[in-house]
């Protein structure tokens, strides 16, 4: 499937009605190769729903969603593994694709989890599990990567490293990424385009545009918005994986 604009998915005026209630409505967005789009918004604003619309998980939607790729990887917000199912990290890595051993190893290496390879999936901590979910998605070498709160339960240093990693994935695989996150000020600096949701698209644009948008400031409160803007302007250093900070050369 070729597309001259590098577009991977296109949502036009998309909405979902469940039990006479709109979970989200009127969302238009386009995910392109090599770009990161971030969805932000309060709880229940329709972020996960929008991600699921993008993935085609809703049978009945208003508006349209067009997909131009089949190579999709998804990191859901939460996933429950039934106790009746014995499954190791290694088995989980191969869940929807057939990977070579070295592909599995290198993906686990990148997310800092090679020691977990033969562990039972249910024995992992929340943060470990989140990293394994990321590793599985990366190992698939997708064209479109949908990440629903991928850093839940990961400690702060690890969180920053994971966001650095997401940026790196987008660059090296040249894949489009749809990212949902709560941690606004870390996320924003890595993003090409931000969509702020509150049941509908409240505002969207570059991170700076959104940060300076009145509606956004109303939704999140002035203080948080300020942190965001400050962070955006003062991003002159790099957070390394071990948590140390390195000055960026100008």
């Amino acid at each position: 499937m070729t597309n001259k604009n590098d577009t991977l998915v296109k949502l036009e005026n998309a909405g979902v009605l469940v039990n006479d209630k709109w979970l989200v409505r009127g969302v238009s967005l386009e995910i392109k190769k090599g770009k990161i789009i971030t969805l932000i918004g309060p709880n229940g604003s329709g972020k996960s729903t929008t991600a699921k619309i993008t993935l085609g998980l809703y049978k009945k939607i208003e508006g349209s969603v067009e997909k131009f790729t089949d190579k999709i990887a998804y990191v859901p917000q939460k996933i429950n593994i039934d106790w009746t199912l014995p499954i190791r990290v290694n088995d989980f890595m191969n869940l929807t694709s057939t990977l070579k051993n070295n592909e599995i190893d290198s993906a686990l290496e990148i997310t800092g989890t090679p020691h977990l390879k033969n562990k039972d999936l249910k024995s992992l901590s929340g943060g470990e599990f989140q990293r394994v979910l990321m590793a599985r998605a990366i190992a698939k070498k997708p064209e479109l990567l949908v990440l629903d709160e991928p850093v839940q339960g990961v400690d702060f240093n690890g969180e920053i490293a994971l966001y650095e990693l997401i940026k790196k994935i987008s660059d090296t695989l040249n894949c489009g990424i749809l990212l949902i996150s709560h941690n606004l000020h870390v996320v924003m600096s890595k993003t090409d385009h931000v969509v702020c949701l509150n049941g509908h698209v409240c505002c969207s644009g570059t991170p700076l545009d959104v940060a300076n948008n009145e509606k956004y400031q109303e939704l999140f409160g002035k203080d948080i918005s300020k942190i965001l803007s400050v962070y955006e302007h003062s991003h002159d250093h790099i957070h390394k994986i071990d948590g140390t900070i390195e000055k960026k050369e100008n």
Binding site: L55, Y74, I79, T84, T96
Partner: protein
Amino acid sequence: MLDDFFVRALLVGIGMALVTGPLGCFVVWRRLSFFGDTLAHSALLGVTLSYTTEINMALSVFVISSIVALILLKLQKKTNLPADALLGLLAHSSLAIGLVVIGLLATIRFDLMGLLFGDILAVNVNDIAVVWIGGAIILIVLKIIWKPLFASTVNYELAEAEGMNPEKYNAIFTILLAAIIAISIKMVGLLLITGMLIIPAAMARNLSDNPNQMVIFSIIGGLLSVIIGLFASLEINTPSGPSIITSGLILFILSLTKIKKKSQLNN
């Protein structure tokens, strides 16, 4: 060799265990044991259908069980009732209808005990062919759909998002389940077939730490249950179907000692 009823019973039992092993794992993983029961209950209706219309019993049971399974899938979407209530509704109403039809056919001599508990010692060469050919088809289909079915068992949304089409493969799996019930009802009967699916898989769960291992242990457990059960039934003259299930239960109890050791090590 096939003249000997015991050899025939062994052949049929072994063929069945090879199929119920892997299918049973999915039944346990997907929490479908009550679903299997429902299909088995509805099989009675299929059996009476075969008596009245004189079509092959395995075929009529397969058709009726598949229809009941599809009705269930439909009802689950349409109503707000929980799955277990729907299953109970379908299980008992199809069983009741089956019994009513039997009542209406009072002229036909009916071996109800044989139907409920099966009679593996009475199988003929035809039955062996049905089990082995039918079983081979089920295993081949299962092998083909293994990956998407397993992915949707682990997580439905993840499988769907990544293009594995779980709805389709769930439906195919349901049909496979109806098929194994259809081909084995004559051997272990409709009350015991679910036991044959679940008990070896449950035993295998205690011994395994990955899915493939569990499937292999489940097959081995099923084979051992059949062989031990049949020999026991020959030696001490117990009913064969229930002896097979009882052997399975004993293996399960033995497997419990293995988990105990495991958790002590972990602590």
